[in-house]
Every structure is written in structure tokens, then in C-alpha cells.
């Protein structure tokens, strides 16, 4: 039942990250600060390579009728899952390689993605969310504490 989530990234249809959130332990000691930087860069890199895999998959199954793409790649000790919205945004989840059967894992990850999708939609529906920046050059960033807190709750619910 427990999935160890490392990172959630949301990229827009051109591959620019709109939201990046890591859920590793937040040790604030000096030695791990550089390590955290490395982790951050590593997740950025993973998100971008996953973009390429997503494009491939989308080209392959033109007749797929699901937003959930599934396991994109497994690199080292992490696996990356993808979910593409109809509006082109990609949700990418980086987790630890699971110890149990993949069918169970798939169902849970899919449910988690659907809930993140719902949270994202309610963020967009907020009239105070500045979509204008997003519209002009598609580089808007999601800076909403409420979105952050809901994502935190979801992640806690799924990791415990």
C-alpha cells in the first residue's frame, strides 16, 4: 500500500515546468543543502526526459482513450509515471521502485493522478489565479499555497 513519492512535476504542452515539488525529507543541515540542490537538478532532468518518453507514447498509441500513460521509465532506484491532460499539460510523478505487484501500484497511482488533476482544475477555476502570465508566453508558475497544501495532503494519504 505504501508508495514512496519523491517528486511531482507539472509541465505545460511545450515542456516548460509550471510546478515542481519534491517530497524528500527536509533536513535543513548544511551538508545536505548541496545534496538537495543535486536532487532538484536530478528531478528537473528526469522530468524533461520523461517528456520525450511521453511524446513517443502519444505518437504510438493514437487510439488510446485514457489520460493515464503509465510507467514511463525506471532509472536507477526511481520509477517515473506520467499522465497527460487534454489541454496538453503533463503530470509527472517520481516514486521509488515498488516492492509489490504492479497492478496494485497502477490503480493507486492512477487514482492519485486523478485527484491531482482535480486539484489543478480547481486552481485554474480560481478567478484570482493569474492565467494571463500563462497565456502570454506560457511560462506561468503555480505559486499557490493552497495548491501546495492540498498536494501535501494527497501525498501523505498515499504514502502512509
Amino acid at each position: 500500500m505504501s508508495i514512496v513519492l519523491h517528486c511531482l512535476a507539472i509541465l505545460n504542452c511545450q515542456g516548460t515546468p509550471v510546478y515542481m515539488r519534491t517530497f524528500d525529507s527536509t533536513d535543513r543541515s548544511a551538508e545536505t543543502a548541496a545534496k538537495q540542490q543535486d536532487q532538484c537538478v536530478k528531478y528537473h532532468y528526469l522530468a524533461h526526459t520523461s517528456c520525450d518518453v511521453i511524446e513517443e507514447r502519444l505518437l504510438q498509441n493514437k487510439t488510446s482513450s485514457d489520460l493515464y500513460i503509465g510507467l514511463l521509465q525506471t532509472i536507477g532506484d526511481v520509477s517515473v509515471y506520467g499522465y497527460v491532460l487534454n489541454t496538453g499539460n503533463r503530470l509527472i510523478l517520481v516514486t521509488s521502485v515498488p516492492a509489490e505487484s504492479s497492478a496494485v501500484q497502477t490503480a493507486e497511482i492512477k487514482a492519485l493522478f486523478q485527484q491531482i488533476h482535480a486539484t489543478y482544475v480547481s486552481l485554474i477555476c480560481n478567478p484570482f489565479y493569474d492565467m494571463a502570465a500563462d497565456m502570454v508566453d506560457r511560462l506561468g508558475n503555480i505559486n499557490s499555497p493552497k495548491f501546495d497544501s492540498i498536494v501535501d495532503e494527497l501525498v501523505n494519504a498515499y504514502s502512509s
Partner: protein, 204 residues
């Protein structure tokens, strides 16, 4: 309820655009100092707001101002309002259980789901030349159902122009959020019929 809000929205936009235009003309003529652009507290300012409120105190205006430039500005504003609404609509109501594979799917989504949600009915007729042009025809466009004019069909159709710009923007916003760049033009040959023409603009 949207039918009641819409005339107010169009009215408000026309009157504020008219007010802004008159104000900028007066500034250009030197009748007003430059810094009253935000406020209208002096006497000349009161004149301007009076003209623009004349447009909006009656529940519908007497006639569209004949000013082409003004109506262009109103068109741009209304269409942008529709565009932003369309983008949010697309995010909120895009199908969750299937993927919209190509442009035709997206246009069908507009014809069926969006129209059903906004107007409780579907588009009557969809034609395409399969090369990027789609024509959507609605024979009983909900916002036009209650419109009729004293002076006949053509004049009423002309007065209904601003009301049709908003759905154009909405359609363009929805298609844009699916990554399809379009130009949407609408025309009406007789209320309550209305035709939207969607032209896909390719990026090359």
C-alpha cells in the same frame, strides 16, 4: 441567467469604451489635463461620464454607436473576454476518460459538450472540408431567441452583432487550450439562426 447578464456585459463594455475614447479625444485636444485619465471629478469629466451612462442607464441601448473604430475596440475586448472564459471552460470540462485525438475531436467536443453545457442543446449542423475549415450552424441560438427588432430582420441582425462576438471568443479559447490555433468568425442571416466559421491557422 446568462441571457440576462450578457446584454449588461455588452452594454458596459460599449459605454466604457466610448467613455475612454471621448476622454482621450479631449486630452488630445488639450481640453483636459493629462492626469485626469483615472478620475473624472471635474465638470468636463462629468460630461463624459454622463454620455457614457446614457448608454447604460436604459436597459438596452437605443442604437449601436455608428463608430467603426469604437466597435472594433469593443469587438477586441469582448472577444478577449470570451477567449479567457473559453480557456477556463476547456480546463474545467475537458473529458476525463478519453483523449481528444485531433482537431475534429476537439470541434466535436465544442459542438456537443460545450454547447450542451452553455445552452442546453447541441449544434444543429457541423460541416467541414477536412482541410481546416469547420462550419457550425445553430438554428435556434439561445441568446438570440428573444431578440426581435421593430425595423425588420436586417437591422435586428446588425444590432445583435456584439452578442455574437462573445461565443466566437469562447470557441477560440477552447480550441486554443487544446493547442489548436484558430480564427473564428460568426455571422447571422436571420435571428435566431447563427453560423460560426472556424479556420485552423497552422503555425508554419
Amino acid at each position: 441567467m446568462l441571457e440576462f447578464l450578457l446584454p449588461e456585459l455588452v452594454n458596459a463594455l460599449v459605454s466604457t469604451t466610448l467613455g475612454a475614447k471621448l476622454l482621450s479625444e479631449r486630452i488630445a485636444l488639450g481640453l483636459e489635463p493629462q492626469d485626469t485619465v483615472g478620475s473624472s471629478t471635474d465638470k468636463e469629466g462629468a460630461d463624459i461620464t454622463q454620455t457614457s451612462t446614457q448608454c447604460s442607464t436604459t436597459s438596452g441601448w437605443i442604437d449601436l454607436p455608428d463608430d467603426k473604430e469604437l466597435m472594433e475596440q469593443v469587438y477586441v475586448k469582448l472577444e478577449m473576454v470570451g477567449f479567457r472564459v473559453g480557456r477556463r471552460l476547456a480546463e474545467r470540462f475537458a473529458p476525463l476518460n478519453r483523449r481528444l485525438a485531433d482537431t475534429l475531436d476537439a470541434v466535436k467536443f465544442v459542438c456537443k459538450d460545450v454547447w450542451m453545457m452553455l445552452f442546453n442543446r447541441q449544434i444543429d449542423n457541423l460541416k467541414t472540408n477536412h482541410r481546416g475549415i469547420y462550419v457550425l450552424q445553430d438554428n435556434k441560438f439561445k441568446w438570440f431567441l428573444r431578440m426581435s427588432g421593430n425595423s425588420g430582420g436586417a437591422a435586428a441582425a446588425r444590432r445583435a452583432q456584439p452578442y455574437i462576438w462573445l461565443p466566437c471568443g469562447i470557441i477560440r479559447g477552447i480550441l486554443d487550450s487544446f493547442g489548436i490555433n484558430t480564427v473564428v468568425i460568426a455571422e447571422t442571416l436571420g435571428l435566431p439562426q447563427c453560423t460560426f466559421q472556424i479556420k485552423v491557422v497552422s503555425d508554419n
